[in-house]
Symmetry: D2
Subunit: 284 residues, 4 copies
């Protein structure tokens, strides 16, 4: 049976849910999941709906066109309708840290991530053996002060050639350029090794240690031009105490980084995240 | 503006959401919250909806009658429609432990619980001073092997006289009789001091200590005739280690019991819990 | 049997533990708890030891003098030796929020806190009825821009008259003056309603909501002259999501504030916290 | 500098700590970590101590002999003294589930686990490609009702040939035979996919789903002859709700299993776990 996922986002108005669910009824869909959210302050409406198409002859394309014509225009909606079978293509950007890369490729190989990974891009050669080990094409794109323009150009060519839908920075230690960000708006996922907005920027574990916090965290967010200021997808924490050194913080943090990044990837890949006002609605 | 909360529960069928949201539209309601759940295995549909009635002349009673006539019968629904302003009346049953009682009455006095507490019933006199301190009528109903019938009769009379909607057992150490359970089906909330189904029955902290667990828990559930087997509303846990004695378990457990019971009371009082197949759907 | 708690803090040196445990042996003490910590970076040694005095004729005073003379001077120790039976005297400072006050007084009445509470001081009259309800003397010390000097003078007189050992700010919304801080160095416990160092200062829940975090927290710390920058004693967190409004954050936060502050009070009252370099060693 | 880890376990007696720390002083050790625990109920004493040997000429072997002669005999101690540089050798037993295997080998390759992994043993061929991918020798030892004796014999030969110190069952779905258990007492680590003692045995996620719990867990424990009854090393939990299917439980559980097992391996490999009375003392 074909399955579709519908994401909607518009000004809150009377009758949206009734109209949309009537539409699904009309196209012979059986709603298996519906969640909606109203931001009362900003008067914005969000909806996520999953449906099985009970008529095998249904065309997802036709439904898409129908929805645009009969509903989306009237309500002035931002919306997407996905065929659940089509896996999004994900690019991995890495530098030298290997723990998130091992974790993602392990999960990918174990069939836990609903994505395709056509390529890994790195500014260093260090992690190429891991890419080889998992049979993922690895591209070395050096990225220095002097070749930023050239480096970005190469990255974008690779991404477009492989029809990449979204990018995951698995402890990629470089600033993403505005041009790349604008091409992949709300589609570049970063993992920051602190409980944002505490300790943005470099060396957060060292800062956390110095401040004497009792809990450390990790934050996965979409990349925007403001460093570590993008919409937060997922966060988690773990306890630390006076017996833990900075190295312990780093080791415990690796576990957090792995887990939080993996959750964010899953949420994004399953189209459960919507962005507005630099915040996320996560239908999980 | 009048506000209503609608809870629905029926066999899953096509068009329920569209029908219900069309109805709300018809009675000039503005949907501010809608959540639904389909148990795919058992083919059961659940829905919780909050709505503001934009027409000040609307009658909740009339809407109720209208809903029954035009929708509920057709879909063979179990349903409730609450006026959000009407606070449910809650009875507290206690014995000798005071920590949950202090916590509930503190929250109640602070205005955090959307309930009325017309009375406290106890099989001992020990906690009467606390009831007095908070100005809640306290009834001593002794409950021994010999007066079970009489004791239960007194309890039920008190509950009915005060039009009690639901009962909270705040570490009440007596078995509830089947007659009382049948009068308040899914309306008696207990707090058990373990992570159920681990350690049911008496002295769970001692058993947990003996087993050497690294985490202890507390569980709030509706009371059924099977001891500690009723539908679970909420659970939480805390870490323990070899340095903790049984007394430490008990002390840490008190914090859990307080918090978990308070959350369960809030969820129930705000009509966010639905029960089926000895499980709960919690729309939170 | 008499019980003592010994806290030590000095430069790390060879033989400290052997010397101290030999001393306890000499004074006929049975060590029931010993924990120590070495800050390798700063070369500082910390120790907490509990002991039962097996000789009923032992004098805690004599042991104290002996320890100073035979050990503390040699090792240049900062140290304290407490008689476990002597409860510290705690003053509560409150303003208008009542949830922490209810929680602390409920725990106090239930016998969970090893303290005496001789008085409550407030800049407003709002919470006097709660103090009355729990029979704790309540002092109204108004605190405005114009009477800061006078207000502080009254506070200090009250604290000294009642021989207060430490102060708890239970959502007391005033800045503590430097004079009072210097009198109670590392003895004034505050609860801040955020996961510090994120969101210091006013309205942290509003800032957290605006930033779109997925987790909120509360932090209990000793008050220093730098606002919200003092040594952290305890922190905890809870999850939030897009469905939560600022009011939900505030309500969930109340639970955190209560719990985190209560834990910090217990740790301090049981002499489990040592402070250095604006951080805490918590032997728990 | 040479580093040693000393684990002690004996009847509680006066003067143990003083005696042991004096000994370390004598052999020119600088204590960098000391933790001890007294089980007051059973009158048992536990201690873990780490020390740097400041004299480069020190012999760990000589210290070991000295300790036995001068102290261990007198106090009737069970004890171990490890050279921190010697990594324990760990065997992995697997069946068909791959998520724990990927996780462990990823961490191992990333240098996070202080062990050597000389071999993987499995009753199926399914995971051989993963062993190959990470260059770990893989031995297929089929294990059916009819060849139990033969299978066990092969396992033990492989373990002895590779001088294995401890065994990790990474979702190995077979019962371990008593002979193997007695050879590796408290040295076989299992991961059970529930919050023990809730849901022992087969299909715990299905049972948890049926019971309607709000939290699921995973437990790592040493294997004993009683199934799922061995000493617990580590546990952790995650929240579930009515929206989660059994498959969601299984997926969320995989994350728990990975993390909890990895933590248990680390604790064991760093000699932080001591066992008595079917419980663990975990010095972390």
């Amino acid at each position: 049976m074909q399955k579709i996922t519908l994401l909607i986002h518009c000004k809150d108005q009377k009758g949206i849910i009734a109209t949309v669910t009537n539409f699904i009824l009309k196209v012979e869909g059986n709603i298996t999941y519906l969640d909606q959210h109203v931001d009362m302050e900003q008067n914005v409406f969000f909806m996520r709906l999953e449906s099985e198409l009970t008529n095998p002859a249904s065309s997802v394309e036709a439904i898409r066109a129908d929805f645009q014509q009969t509903i989306a225009t009237d309500f002035n909606m931002s919306w997407d309708l996905y065929n659940k079978e089509v896996k999004p293509k994900m690019a991995l950007f890495v530098s030298k840290y290997n723990h998130c890369l091992y974790d993602i490729l392990g999960r990918y190989s174990a069939g836990e991530l609903n994505v395709e990974i056509p390529l890994i891009i790195s500014n260093h050669m260090d992690l190429k053996p891991i890419a080889d080990q998992f049979n993922i094409p690895f591209y070395h794109v050096p990225f220095t002060k002097d070749n930023k323009v050239e480096g970005e150009k190469q990255q974008i060519e690779l991404l477009q050639k492989h029809k990449i839908n979204f990018i995951v920075l698995a402890r990629y230690m470089q600033i993403i350029t505005p041009d790349l960000i604008s091409l992949y708006e709300n589609k570049i996922i970063n993992i920051h090794h602190s409980f944002l907005p505490a300790f943005p920027g470099a060396k957060p574990y060292h800062s956390a240690f110095k401040r004497g916090v009792k809990i450390i965290g990790a934050t996965s967010h979409y990349v925007t031009e403001e460093l570590d200021e993008g919409p937060i997808i997922e966060q988690d924490i773990t306890r630390v105490s006076h017996i833990n050194s900075v190295d312990d913080f780093i080791m415990k943090g690796k576990d957090l980084e792995r887990t939080v990044l993996a959750r964010a990837i899953k949420l994004h890949a399953e189209r459960k995240v919507m962005v507005y006002s630099n915040k996320t609605v996560v239908f999980s």
